[in-house]
């Protein structure tokens, strides 16, 4: 139920997008640069501003011209920090190198290790528990497979990441899967599932509110939510670190829960698996509808 303000905002974003696309000449240098003390000039009217902009644009173009003689490594063909969020890897592309590059093997301090985590620990180095990624990888693919199957059966998936740096990841993951996925980027209010009629009102009686899968990026901070999922018999996936008992979630993924890059990597993979499941379901629906139409034509003939 979008409010009128929300709808107006949506329409306005579209108009901004159109403006951005129309006025953008393709340059490769990302940021404009004005040399200090040299580029300073009085900016009194629109013509002054036009000159200012065209000078900066000329500088950018010069940078582009000379960039062709420089290194072959450019912004386009190297890894950038935003790639884990905007260009996620598929579960089939999950490799040990990708996990190590994201720092997924770095657990917490040795003294904080939960004894139930021992099976997933590789060892200790520099007083830190190193997580065994040889076990993480198949568990990650198992979780992805589960997400794909649940999405294929039109299940509701909720991504929970209640830290500031995890918020964009869960929002994007829910967006990627579609209307059957939801996100919780800030605090999970206790009683969301077990006290739902008080929290949401009686209107939810006609809605499917209990999710079919909940994915936790920081389970230790969301014990209330995990408890509620257990009470309501909701399967859970979670990134468990070395200070966490892996039995709190149904499908643990032993990895570093403090690293944003690891969380974005895992969330990206699970969201792509969910998207694959949705595509499979759509394919099946279209096949079934075609099958029905064929059978109908047979009868008439």
């Amino acid at each position: 139920m979008a409010s009128s303000a929300l709808r107006a905002g949506l329409a306005a974003s579209q108009s901004i997008r159109r403006t951005a696309v129309r006025r953008a000449p393709r340059v490769f240098a990302r940021n404009a640069y004005t040399p200090p003390l040299q580029g300073e000039r009085p900016l009194e009217n629109w013509d002054d501003w036009q000159d200012f902009q065209s000078d900066r644009h000329a500088f950018k173009q010069m940078v582009d011209v000379y960039s062709e003689f420089g290194s072959n490594q450019t912004r386009e063909n190297t890894f950038q920090p935003h790639h884990t969020l905007h260009r996620p890897l598929a579960p089939s592309q999950a490799t040990l190198s990708a996990l190590i590059a994201a720092g997924a093997h770095l657990g917490h301090s040795k003294s904080l290790m939960n004894p139930n985590f021992m099976p997933y620990a590789y060892g200790v180095r520099a007083d830190i528990t190193i997580i065994d990624l040889d076990q993480t990888l198949p568990l990650l693919r198992r979780a992805a497979s589960l997400t794909r199957a649940i999405a294929a059966r039109d299940g509701t998936i909720v991504f929970v990441g209640t830290r500031k740096d995890l918020q964009p990841a869960v929002v994007k993951a829910a967006e990627r899967i579609g209307p059957q996925a939801y996100n919780v980027g800030e605090r999970w209010l206790p009683g969301t599932l077990t006290n739902r009629f008080t929290m949401f009102g009686a209107g939810i009686k006609d809605q499917r509110v209990i999710p079919d899968l909940v994915i936790f990026l920081n389970p230790l901070a969301n014990m209330n939510a995990i408890r509620e999922c257990a009470i309501q018999h909701v399967p859970t996936i979670g990134i468990v670190d070395s200070n966490v008992d892996p039995r709190i979630v149904m499908y643990p993924i032993p990895a570093n829960d403090e690293s944003t890059r690891t969380a974005e990597l895992i969330t990206g993979m699970l969201s792509i698996a969910g998207k694959e499941g949705k595509i499979l379901r759509d394919q099946q629906q279209s096949q079934m509808s075609r099958g029905n139409s064929f059978s109908r034509t047979k009868r008439t003939a």
């Binding site: 951005a20 006025r23 009194e44 996925a181 800030e186």
Partner: protein, 367 residues
Amino acid sequence: MRGLQLLARPAIRGYASTARPYVPPAQLANVAPASAPQKPRPESPSFFTVRPAYYDQLYELNQALSLSRRALRSQCLLPLPPFARDALRPMPSMWRTRGDLSDVMSTPLSNTRYKSITSVLDQLHECRRIAWTAGSLELAVGISDVLTSFEHRNLDAVTNRKRKERPLDEHGRSYTVGRRKTSSARVWMIPVQHDASASTSAPASETVAPPPTPAQASVNNDIDALFGSSADRTSEPASTALAAAPILSSPAQSAPPVKLAEVLVNNIPIHEYFQNPTDRARIVRPLTLTGSLPAYNIFAIVRGGGLSGQSGAIAHAISKGIVVHDARQEIKDILKKAKLLRRDPRMVERKKTGLEKARKRRAWVRR
């Protein structure tokens, strides 16, 4: 293929239950799984946050912000160097109040959530300002479309409002009110007239101050003895009274005498009402800081509190009165820096149960 097999495996139990009879799997080979009419899902992706309207709105605003920033960057307007930032045209804005915005969004808004929305709105407004100043009007209009529903209803009135003018009355007096602790002081200030008439500021001050008491008269006589009296005084503005007075070595030289200003508190001279020199210094401080000690005759009516509270209230009212008479920015800056224009918010803290006074704890006993 493997994916479709994933779906083709129906979830069947190998046993009967009271809810459903047992069906051999072979019978269901060509039967599509029953798509029971499912209940609809919640619409918003932030449904499980329990405040979907707020989170969706914030998301849309952040999207609009990142699009505007991308547009500005493509037009080489971001990042702006400092000299360009200083050249931006001023564009005042005011957002809806928290209650108003709660009604518009039809969801309760806490202070933190309201502030998070207004911080994004401020950033969008900054982008609009840059676009508008640089002549990128399409983008400015696009951002305005997003921001109109969040702007204050009476935007023009709110941004153009001015502080209430407190003019001088027909006698040239300022009337100001000052407060400190539980005291409040009403103060009339009139500039001292340094003209040729023998009794200085005679007609005006008579309405303000009654004739000096014998004690004050003696003080005045002493001062006259020091500086001597002269009839040839030119009328000067109050603020230059002190500057005009030359430093004399002997009273014999002809020079205009500097009449010190009179301060009356509840119709009593200041040195009688406030015996403590600290209180007198507090009252006179705004005048000494701005160099207007001989410039104003002051009449104060003060009620409530004790002596130090009353002296603070009078000082507060005098500072405000100086600003009314002399609206120069330097005077305002001096008084602001000395924290004389601000009503001191400190009040007596209440006594709490279990404590002797507001903070004093009872003696600690081991057992």
